[in-house]
Amino acid sequence: MSLMPFASSRPLSMGVELELQLLSCNDYNLVSSAPDILRRVSKRAHPGEIKPEMTRSMIEINTSVQHEYSGLVNELHALRDVVSDAGRFLNIAVAGGGTHPFQHWSEQKIFDAPRFHYLSELYGYLAKQFTIFGQHVHVGCPGPDEALHLMHMLSRYIPHFIALSASSPFVQGHDTGFASARLNSVFSFPLSGRAPFVLRWEDFEKFFSKMTSTGVVESMKDFYWDIRPKPEFGTIEVRVCDTPLTVEIAAAIACYIQAMSRYIMVEQRIAPEEDDYLVYTFNRFQACRFGLEGVFIDPRTHEQRSIREDITDMLSRIADHARELRATEAMERIREILINGNGTTWLRKTYSREHNLGDVMQLQAELWMRA
């Protein structure tokens, strides 16, 4: 199967996908109720899409194509309200966050659809371990070569997105010490990591057809890269973020990526280099492990600073672009995260007050569903 041609999309348009947790209101453990929720929401008119995910305790909400913060946040509010109402009707709580703090992977059930059964057959327990909850952000690109350029330039700032969205410190009942433990589950997939360093679409097509001829992959969906091109939408898709604890933060992070993309396309105009990737896994690890306090090494200058400092610096560089995109409010929210901490900070603080992960999960769901 060859790669489909790169569709055209309006540059810097964006779309957000959020994977959400479904919880039993009795103990706030995950509950396999995706079919019930989906049956309920299918009767209601709503923007975007609400879809099943790998296991039955997850659902995914997708926005339509959006251009600025206010539209994006409104649509996310509408989607959140539809899902939350369905949840209340069915005695199911809905929450954000990258991991469930005490679920057991073996209790999860694969959603009844051919693709999920296929993946479950192929990956075995990894598929059930994949009951983790991420935010994916699509950014529209004028053309395929521009998409590859943007993908490689954004790769450098992957730690920003991880640290800002991090909200998965707890796994299987314990604090992992990581800001985002969710990504550790992604890394166990054989085709995770980063895209190959090719800058022209025809070279990417060659790479793709070589990969398909080996039989390793069938479609772009089989690559679990941190950022990957999505030719049918004409976008690149940033996939490293945890689902934040509120839709407002999710929208703000999407707009941060959008403003940074505008900065890269319009102002920065430098070519990516293969050596940019020398520090890639180190920086990414620092972001997963330490969040905003993690060390960030600049691939060009080799200068070391904290991820928080690098984001502060970036915010001032992209301020004009954010204003152009009417995303100033979103940048304010990003600044608030730098001051008050990310989702992981909130979760640890709540746990030290409540001493019970079930209670943390209840409060986390109340935060998400809040009307």
């Binding site: 009795n26 103990d27 509950v31 396999s32 019930d36 069915l90 005695n91 059930k109």
Partner: protein
């Protein structure tokens, strides 16, 4: 000194307690065998062994006066009722009124269909109403025990717990009302006919509230220390049960309401170990064996057709009511069927109501009492299987246990 001073005299003088101890071992072994080889619920083994060894079958175990079992049954049922109540989220009825509707419809349909059947068969109205009220109840013991055992979770499980709690409340209250009507038919003044149910409901609610309040305070003070906590809880349940009987209130209503009230007022949900610890679990097993021992199928000889008609009509009423509102309440057809079928089991609550009526009206004991006893034995043996199969078919049991 003679032989008999230190050697036992043949034949051995064996107390019934020894046989009961042995029955516990055998019943648990049979229960395990059923799970391993036939994938049937353990309760079937407990009840079945009790029934087979009991006075009404092979008679290996002599008939025990009910009072000896009463503490075990009361305590175990108390644990299960309180457990059921504390698993049920009454707030849900506010966000999904169709569930309240389904519960009321299911109970009303059961009552009126059974009542109509019996009146059609020339049963006096008051007696027909008592039997119809008793048949509303789904067994909390079987439902809680089977859900615990199959580790089920999901829509059908949550609704089964909720509807079971509600229909037990309806059954107990309607039973009191209809028994009062039976008294009225026997010539008691109208004043008492009205005051008695009012006293029952008000008194039980007050006692339940006191129980719930004390429970929360103690739980708050002790925290999660399982052993200490379960000792105190058992003491409280025994106290509440005896207190309720002394005050001529309903222990069933008090403990169920106590569970519901604590859950309703609690800010944060709490999970407790099944049956509040292993001591509770032993009592629950003993209760099912005791129910088997008390099982009496002699009613089948006299009124074979009536027993199966009652079971059939009750099943039709419950399943069709749940199915009628399944779509509106957010269930698929498959889930609705599963929920309806899972409402079938009858056990301890029905047994207690039947025994209570029989004690008051001797004519009931020899007539409908025996018919109801047969219904109970049948639905106590089939009920757990129906619940387990329903939960499995609804996809609410863990996938690993389906292998």
């Amino acid at each position: 000194m003679t032989w008999s001073d230190y050697l036992p005299i043949w034949p051995l003088a064996i107390t019934p307690a020894l046989w009961i101890a042995l029955t516990l071992v055998v019943a648990v072994l049979v229960g395990e065998a059923l799970v391993r080889h036939l994938r049937l619920p353990r309760i079937v083994g407990y009840v079945g062994v009790g029934l087979l060894l009991g006075p009404h079958a092979f008679g290996l175990i002599p008939e025990l006066p009910l009072t000896e079992w009463r503490l075990v049954i009361d305590l175990a049922l108390g644990i299960l009722l309180f457990e059921l109540g504390s698993k049920v989220n009454l707030h849900w009825l506010k966000t999904n009124r169709w569930i309240a509707g389904a519960s009321l419809l299911e109970a009303a349909a059961t009552f009126f269909l059974v009542f109509a059947l019996l009146v059609w068969m020339d049963t006096p109205g008051a007696t027909a109403a008592v039997v119809a009220a008793i048949l509303i109840a789904t067994s909390p013991a079987i439902v809680v025990r089977t859900i615990t055992e199959s580790r089920a979770q999901g829509q059908v499980t949550d609704r089964l717990l909720l509807m079971t709690a509600l229909n037990c409340i309806y059954a107990v209250i309607l039973h009191k009302l209809t028994v009062a009507a039976m008294h009225g038919a026997a010539g008691t003044s109208a004043l008492h006919t009205i005051l008695q149910p009012l006293y029952l409901i008000g008194g039980s609610a007050l006692l339940a509230w006191l129980f719930g309040f004390t429970f929360e305070r103690i739980h708050h003070y002790l925290g999660h220390h399982e052993e200490t906590f379960s000792f105190i809880l058992f003491g409280m349940i025994a106290f509440a049960t005896i207190m309720a009987s002394t005050l001529k209130l309903s222990p069933v209503l008090v403990l169920l309401a106590a569970g519901l009230i604590t859950r309703y007022h609690r800010q944060r949900p709490r999970t407790f170990p099944p049956h509040f610890g292993s001591a509770g679990a032993v009592l629950v097993v003993l209760m099912f064996i005791g129910n088997g021992l008390a099982g009496n199928l002699s009613g089948l000889r006299e009124s074979f057709l009536l027993v199966w008609l009652l079971i059939g009509v009750r099943a039709v009423a419950k399943i069709s009511s749940v199915l009628a509102l399944a779509h509106h309440s957010g269930l698929s057809l498959r889930q609705g069927t599963a929920l309806g079928v899972a409402l079938m089991p009858m056990s301890s609550v029905t047994l207690l109501l039947t025994l209570e009526t029989s004690a008051t009206f001797p004519s009931f004991a020899s007539g409908f009492g025996l018919t109801l006893m047969s219904c109970i034995v049948i639905l106590e043996l089939i009920g757990p299987i129906l619940v387990q199969v329903s939960l499995r078919r609804a996809g609410e049991t863990p996938e690993t246990s389906q292998r």
